[in-house]
């Protein structure tokens, strides 16, 4: 089956977030369950209507099972594919195929993490991952992962294309300007380019303000066939394209540090949607680090390779700029509970439903949401649209 025949066949009928920021006392499962229930209610459905489930966790490799148990589901379609932060965008196309094949009627995609407040902290989970997911050709050199991997990519981008720290800082400044318009964003203080340039270095050339937040939070959405979505209360947000690409696990195995697998996932997604970057009204990119936004704008075709630094300068992707990018404030300023991808997708849906409040991009009919996972390891792109852009 050509993926082109799946264009617009399914739609997102409900979305929700829960506990974004700091939610002491909650477990991953509790946060997830709140978002899952709210997304199902938002879709105008009941939990008993859900017969497909997609989920993934940083800490639990068998995560689909406790989620099914906790929510009391009996799914006919289950996807626990774990590709890091891109997982929940990567779950789209297989779920669309399952819906089209009649394996299930309504798929719930959900994530929750108490990464900021949880007792099982980041250093404990990093230690456990070293045992469970060994990288014997990187770990002995003590890179601070993930930041050092992205720092290496940034160093190469600066060397090859003259990208500057100030240009990367402008990515953080734009994200913060959007966050200031979003009541859900965790950090909403003013941020200037100088603030970013003067902040503490983590792994050169990335400072702490070039790095994403560490927050708690949960997100969920419901995917259903387009003909069923039209009978549900919300304006359906159609999935026009989706593709996932993985080229490596370790940063040292990446062929070219300035070119990510987003080139492949992006090209395949645009081909499925029949769109070009010029057709996209709002862009949500997985900004774990400021260099990500630059790399993905290039690799997805919004600008030429090497021109990302100039492209993001001087408010071009900020509120009022030519291209609205990461309108919720992104992982840099809104929310980043270990994996961010589902929040990029949810923000795209909120923009297309016209529900983004002060940060609403007027007349947004099309959106691109892009997920990244590992250390520039996995990339998944989705193009969404309202009925007007079908």
């Amino acid at each position: 089956m050509n993926t082109r025949t799946l264009r617009g066949s399914c739609a997102i009928a409900g979305v929700a977030t829960f506990g974004c920021g700091e939610t002491p006392g909650f477990t991953d499962l509790e946060l997830l369950a709140h978002a899952a229930h709210a997304a199902v209610v938002d879709a105008g459905l009941q939990m008993t209507d859900i017969d497909g489930l997609c989920t993934a966790s940083v800490s639990s490799p068998m995560w689909a099972m406790p989620v099914i148990e906790y929510l009391g589901l009996n799914p006919r379609y289950i996807d626990g594919t774990m590709l890091g932060g891109s997982s929940f965008i990567a779950h789209l196309l297989p779920a669309i195929q399952a819906l089209e094949a009649g394996r299930c009627r309504h798929v719930l995609v959900c994530y929750g993490s108490a990464q900021r407040s949880g007792t099982f902290g980041r250093s404990a989970s990093a230690g456990a991952r070293r045992l469970l997911d060994p990288q014997p050709y990187e770990h002995p050199y003590e890179p601070m992962l993930p930041p050092s991997a992205y720092a290496l990519a940034a160093s190469r981008h600066m060397y090859e294309f003259g990208t500057t720290r100030a240009q990367m800082a402008d990515v953080a400044v734009a994200a913060r300007a959007w966050a200031r318009l979003n009541p859900e964003a965790f950090v909403r203080d003013p941020l200037t380019r100088d603030d970013v340039l003067r902040s503490r270095m983590v792994s050169d050339p990335l400072s702490v303000r070039d790095c994403c937040l560490v927050t708690d939070g949960a997100g969920a959405f419901v995917l259903t066939r387009a003909d069923r979505a039209r009978d549900l209360p919300n304006r359906p947000v159609y999935v026009l394209g989706n593709s996932t690409a993985v080229w490596n696990r370790q940063i040292s195995s990446m062929h070219d540090l300035t070119v990510t697998a987003a080139q492949q996932s992006g090209a395949d997604t645009f081909a499925m949607a029949g769109f070009t970057p010029r057709d996209i009204d709002v862009v949500q990119l997985y900004d774990a680090f400021t260099i990500n936004t630059i790399l993905f704008l290039e690799d997805l075709g919004f600008c030429a390779k090497g021109e990302g630094g100039a492209f993001v300068s001087d408010g071009r992707i900020a509120p009022g700029g030519a291209l609205p990018v990461n309108t919720n404030g992104g992982g840099l300023s809104c929310v980043h509970p270990g994996m961010y991808g589902i929040f990029a997708l949810i923000e795209a849906v909120r923009q297309l439903r016209g529900e983004a409040g002060e940060r609403q991009v007027p007349g947004a009919l099309t959106a691109l949401a892009h997920g990244n996972g590992g250390t520039l390891s996995s990339q998944s792109t989705a193009i969404l649209a309202t009925a007007d852009a079908l």
Partner: protein
């Protein structure tokens, strides 16, 4: 060859010897070591001693408190044989490591490290 290539490689490193692999079918060099060639899928990988010289492809300074060991260079190095590996450049301040620096491999306590190829003060 019915043995772990990772174990064999690490055992040689413990002896102070640095090997990489070369595919006798497609002639690509391969690193990190593995059982099958990632370029052609074949199993004709042979151990070979690299020249040990290479060029810094990307570099970062991990900022750590002095109590945690202080600032640390982490680099990606392209060996002249055409393979890339993560390592660090010793014998030079972390901040002085730069892309394009020519470096030479050495084995220290079972770990491949590098030093500037001219021997020091680059």
């Amino acid at each position: 060859m019915n043995e772990s290539v990772l174990a064999w490689h690490q055992a040689r490193l413990q002896e102070g010897k640095f090997f990489i692999q070369r595919c006798s079918a497609c002639a690509h060099h391969v690193y990190f070591p593995r059982a099958f060639c990632p370029h052609c899928g074949g199993d004709a990988l042979e151990w070979t001693t690299p020249a040990g010289t290479g060029t810094v492809y990307a570099a970062t300074t991990v900022r750590r408190k002095p109590t945690e060991g202080g600032d640390l260079n982490v680099s990606l190095i392209d060996l002249d044989e055409g393979v890339r590996l993560m390592s660090r450049i010793d014998g030079i301040a972390a901040d002085d490591v730069h892309i394009g620096l020519r470096v030479r491999a050495k084995v220290v306590d079972g770990l491949v490290l590098f030093a500037p190829a001219d021997g020091g003060s680059a």
